[in-house]
C-alpha cells in the first residue's frame, strides 16, 4: 500500500490541471520528501543519447543528469534499459561506473535510485532519486517509488502529446491505476499500433484521445477494439 505522504503526491499528479501544464515542479520536492531522499527528477528518453529532464529541476538532479550524459555511464542510463537500479551505497559501486561514481561522490551524492518509466514495452524514460546519506530506501518507500513512477509515466506520455492533434481535449490528465489495470487497454494498444503502423506509445495516446472525444471510459473503448467493433485505421473505407 502507498504511504500517506505519497498518496497526497499521487493525488496531486492525478488531479486535473491547466491545459498544457507540465508536471508541477513543487510536487517533485514533496515526492522526494515522501521517499526520504534529497531530490528526484524524471528524464525522458531511453537510448544512449541520454535523458532530457522533464520534471524535478533542482540543481543536484540537473548536475547528476549532466554528469551521466557527459560520461556516458551511470545508474539512470542503465535503468533506461528496463530494470530498476538501486544503489544504496554509491562508493561501493565504483566498479560498475568507474568514471561516474567518483564524480558523483565529489558532488556529495552517496545513494542513487533509478526506476524505468514504462508501461509494458512502452519506455518513456527514468525516474531518479538521490541522497547525500548512504543507505537503502526506507521500508515501503520503494513501493511508493514504483507507484510514483507509474503516475509520472502516464503524465509524461500525455505531456509529450500536448499541442499535437492526437492530444485530445486538454485539461484531462491520466489517472494512474484507473487505466493501467485493465488488460483490454494494453491489448487494444497493441492492436491499434499495428492498425496505424505507429509505436505502442503513440497507439496508447490515440486510444486515450479517442476515449475523451467519445466521452466513454478507456476500458470500454478498448474492449470495442479488442472485440473488433472499432478500428482506428480506415482500411474499410
Amino acid at each position: 500500500m502507498v504511504g500517506d505522504r505519497m498518496a497526497v503526491v499521487l493525488a496531486l499528479l492525478d488531479g486535473g490541471r491547466e491545459p498544457g501544464a507540465s508536471l508541477p515542479q513543487a510536487v517533485a520536492a514533496q515526492a522526494a520528501a515522501a521517499l526520504g531522499v534529497d531530490g528526484i527528477c524524471a528524464g525522458l528518453g531511453t537510448g544512449s543519447s541520454g535523458l532530457v529532464l522533464a520534471w524535478g529541476r533542482e540543481p543536484m538532479s540537473v548536475a547528476l543528469d549532466g554528469l551521466q550524459f557527459a560520461l556516458g555511464q551511470g545508474p539512470g542510463l542503465d535503468a533506461a534499459a528496463g530494470a530498476p537500479v538501486l544503489v544504496a551505497d554509491l562508493e561501493a559501486a565504483a566498479a560498475r561506473w568507474p568514471v561516474f561514481v567518483p564524480a558523483a561522490t565529489e558532488l556529495g551524492v552517496r545513494a542513487l535510485f533509478a526506476l524505468p518509466l514504462r508501461i509494458g514495452a512502452i519506455s518513456v524514460g527514468v525516474l531518479s532519486a538521490h541522497r547525500a546519506v548512504p543507505g537503502p530506501l526506507a521500508d515501503g518507500a520503494l513501493a511508493d517509488a514504483f507507484a510514483l513512477a507509474e503516475a509520472v509515466t502516464l503524465s509524461l506520455l500525455h505531456q509529450q502529446s500536448i499541442g499535437t492533434e492526437r492530444a485530445g481535449p486538454p485539461g484531462e490528465w491520466p489517472r494512474a491505476g484507473l487505466e493501467t489495470n485493465r488488460a483490454e487497454v494494453h491489448q487494444a494498444t497493441g492492436m491499434i499500433s499495428v492498425q496505424l503502423g505507429v509505436s505502442l506509445a503513440e497507439a496508447l495516446l490515440r486510444l486515450r484521445a479517442y476515449t475523451y472525444a467519445d466521452g466513454r471510459a478507456i476500458a470500454e473503448v478498448a474492449a470495442d477494439v479488442v472485440a473488433r467493433r472499432l478500428r482506428f485505421d480506415d482500411r474499410d473505407q
Binding site: 514495452a121 491489448q187 492498425q195 505502442l200 490515440r206 472499432l230 478500428r231
Partner: protein, 270 residues
C-alpha cells in the same frame, strides 16, 4: 483422493498419473523458480493450470497487487476474456480483494448469497456460469502480495483437502514470485513483484499486436505466443517484449493470414 464421480480427475482424463505425482510435479516446478533463468508469468500460468487439474475447480487465476494496492490479473488457467473480466472486477471489490486485505481465506463463497458483499462481481461470475468462488491469500510471513482465485461451476463445498492443497499451491506461487532466497529483502521483493506486473502488461500488448497482425482473437494470440516460446525454448516474457516492441524476427509467428476484408466491413471507424 477427491473426485466428483468416484475416480481421480487425472484418471478420468485418461492420464494415469496420481494426484500425488501431480502435486510433486507442481512443487518441483516451483523449486525450478529458484534459478536465475526464470519466467514468472509462465510459471504462474502453469500453476493456475495445475490448480484446475488437482482441485475440484473449473477455473483458477492469480492476482498480484502493485505498489498502490491495486490488484492485477497476472495469470489464469484460461485466457478467456470473460474469465479475465472476473479478475478485473475484483480490483474494486471481490473475494481476491478481501483475501488480499485481510490475509484470510475466502472459501465456499456462495455467489447467490454474495450479492450484497460484492454485487458487481457476484452478478458477473454467475452470468459466466460459476456457482461458487474461493480466494486464498498469497502470503509469506507478514507479507501479502495477492490472491489465488478458484471458481467452481457446480454447487457444493470445496473439500477441506482441496482447500489445504490450494493453499499449498498458493504458498508455492508466493515463493516462486518472491524467489525465496531473497524474500527477506523487502527491496528485492518489491522489485520482483513489479517485474511480474510489468511482464504481464507487455504480454497483453504483444497479444494485441499479434491478434491484429494475424487477424485472430487475443486468446488465440496468447496460445500462439506461449506455444512458440515453448517450441523455441524462449521465455514467454522475452518473446512478448520482442513482439510488442516490433523487434521479433519470428516470421512464422508474426505473419499468418490477415483478417479478410469481408470480416472488417461495416466496422465503426475511429
Amino acid at each position: 483422493m477427491r473426485a466428483s464421480n468416484g475416480a481421480p480427475r487425472a484418471y478420468r482424463e485418461g492420464v494415469t498419473v496420481t494426484r500425488e505425482e501431480q502435486l510433486v510435479e507442481a512443487f518441483v516446478e516451483a523449486a525450478d523458480t529458484l534459478v536465475d533463468d526464470f519466467d514468472v508469468i509462465e510459471f504462474l500460468h502453469t500453476l493456475a493450470g495445475r490448480c484446475v487439474q488437482l482441485l475440484d475447480v473449473d477455473a483458477a487465476g492469480i492476482m498480484l497487487a502493485d505498489g498502490r494496492g491495486h490488484l492485477h490479473a497476472t495469470a489464469a488457467s484460461s485466457e478467456s476474456a470473460r474469465l479475465l473480466e472476473l479478475f478485473e472486477l475484483q480490483a474494486d471489490a471481490g473475494p481476491c480483494m478481501d483475501a488480499f486485505r485481510t490475509g484470510a481465506q475466502v472459501v465456499n463463497a456462495d455467489l447467490g448469497a454474495s450479492e450484497e458483499r460484492w454485487p458487481r462481481f457476484a452478478e458477473a461470475a454467475q452470468a459466466t456460469g460459476y456457482a461458487s468462488v474461493h480466494a486464498l491469500p498469497l502470503r509469506l510471513r507478514s507479507t501479502i502480495i495477492g490472491a489465488l482465485n478458484l471458481f467452481r461451476a457446480h454447487q457444493g463445498a470445496l473439500s477441506a483437502d482441496d482447500i489445504h492443497t490450494g493453499q499449498a499451491l498458493a504458498d508455492v506461487a508466493t515463493i516462486g514470485i518472491l524467489a525465496q532466497r531473497s524474500a527477506q529483502q523487502a527491496e528485492l521483493l518489491t522489485t520482483q513483484l513489479q517485474r511480474a506486473l510489468d511482464s504481464r502488461v507487455t504480454i497483453e500488448q504483444a497479444k494485441g499486436v499479434l491478434a491484429e497482425r494475424r487477424g485472430i482473437s487475443v486468446d488465440q494470440a496468447f496460445a500462439l505466443l506461449r506455444a512458440y516460446a515453448r517450441n523455441h525454448n524462449l521465455h514467454l516474457s522475452d518473446l512478448a517484449r520482442e513482439v510488442a516492441e516490433g523487434t521479433s524476427t519470428a516470421a512464422e509467428l508474426l505473419s499468418g493470414p490477415q483478417l479478410a476484408d469481408a470480416d472488417t466491413r461495416g466496422l465503426e471507424r475511429a
